[in-house]
């Protein structure tokens, strides 16, 4: 997938999730907020990591805000038909990273600093996951540095035809 595909996809995803977060405030729709990014899980990647990323994305997108309850293990298990233990593993890692906090008897809640922590974490991998592939692909296609910078700035719009 090229950088631009990823970019367009991110745009679409964030606008859809924004719409959904706007429409649904009912508690039973809670899981919808988180899973809006994906309807099905990918069997080629550890499931607990995917659960973790779904919650992270929802927090970064602002569909799941500080002090809001995150879907429970059971809700994830029922929605995706996954093993509850697997869902719990993903959620517990987020607790260890101070993204979620457990409130006894009520559930898991988003911490105040969750978004800040996540953004800092994602920034660290942004170069590796997005900039580096972009540079590599640009090199392969002999796109000059100036051209690339212009594109990033949005100065130059490529004619798709």
């Amino acid at each position: 997938m090229s950088f631009f595909d990823v970019f367009i996809k991110l745009l679409t995803i964030s606008s859809i999730s924004y719409m959904v977060s706007y429409i649904s405030n009912e508690p039973y729709k809670l899981i919808e907020k988180v899973i809006v990014m994906k309807r099905a899980l990918d069997d080629t990647k550890p499931i607990y990591i995917q659960i973790k990323e779904h919650i992270e994305d929802a927090i970064i997108n602002g569909t799941l805000n500080p002090d809001e309850r995150a879907p429970s293990t059971n809700e994830f298990a029922a929605f995706y038909k996954i093993n509850p233990a697997t869902a719990a593993k993903g959620i517990n890692e987020l607790v260890a990273e101070h993204i979620l906090v457990k409130r006894r008897g009520i559930g898991m809640f988003v911490t105040t600093d969750a978004k800040k922590i996540l953004i800092a974490k994602r920034k660290q991998t942004f170069y590796k996951h997005f900039v580096l592939p972009l540079k590599q692909e640009a090199e392969k296609l002999q796109i000059s540095e100036t051209e690339l910078i212009e594109w990033v700035k949005g100065v130059h719009v490529q004619d798709e035809n």
Binding site: L41, D42, D43, T44, K45, P46, I47, Y48, I49, N74, A77, A78, Y80, K81, I82, N83, P84, A85, T86, K89
Partner: protein
Amino acid sequence: MYKMKIEVDQLTKVYRDKRALDNVSLTLSEPKIYGFLGRNGAGKTTFMEILTGQILATSGTLRVNGEAPFDNQKLTESICLIKEGGNFKKELTIKNVLKLYRVFYPNWDQALANELIEAYGLNVNARIKSLSKGMASALGIIVGLASMAPITMFDEPYIGLDASARKMFYDKMVAVYEKQKRIIIFSTHLIDEVSTLFEEVIIIQNGSIVLQEEADVLREKACAVSGPKADVTAYMTDKNVMQTKEIAGMMTAYVYGDAVMEAAHAAGLAVEGIPIQELMVYLTEEKRGA
């Protein structure tokens, strides 16, 4: 949560001309949903029949909480096996079947059975012989789930069930398991449909255990690595390679092991995960005839 421990030591079963199980040793001690996978004739059913106490092993031992299941009713009350077919006597009505199992299984959940009978639209007065394959399978699923047996096994339980009936089964299985954890051993060929349900996967081939591993660990340890042939070949030297494919100077290697993905990234090769179903295919093809 039910605590049961299954300990299998060098279990072997020989039929006249075939070693159905060959020195199988494994331990299942946690209430988990286990995916028990293998090709036809790999020995899955034989294993489950020994575990249920229906047949005896030729040699080796299988113990559940320290006891052998054969001819041990106290123990078999804790074990339920639902097979592909022929689970119930043909002359009985569904009502009779449910009554029998309710008496046999001490933890039987009648409310759950009623709910499922309703959900699958079964007529309790119908005789087993009059049921379609799908309906008979649905009854097997209902009995297996409602038995609440601390060890419940489903051996390809859904012949004739359509996709939505299977989906309902998965939904119910998760819900029931969530409420009361137990050992569920699930053998199926429709791995893609259920692989996310498995917490642990056991792969059996030609009567031997090829692999027993946590499902999410498998997803990390198996991958397809692609790139120019020379680079992939160099990468492969110290790896466990299940299979390779080549086209136009490019090569894909299906590898399994610790940190295989990191190594591929480091070598600048393209990496893709492998679904559990495909992994099973590669693993059991490789071992064939070996």
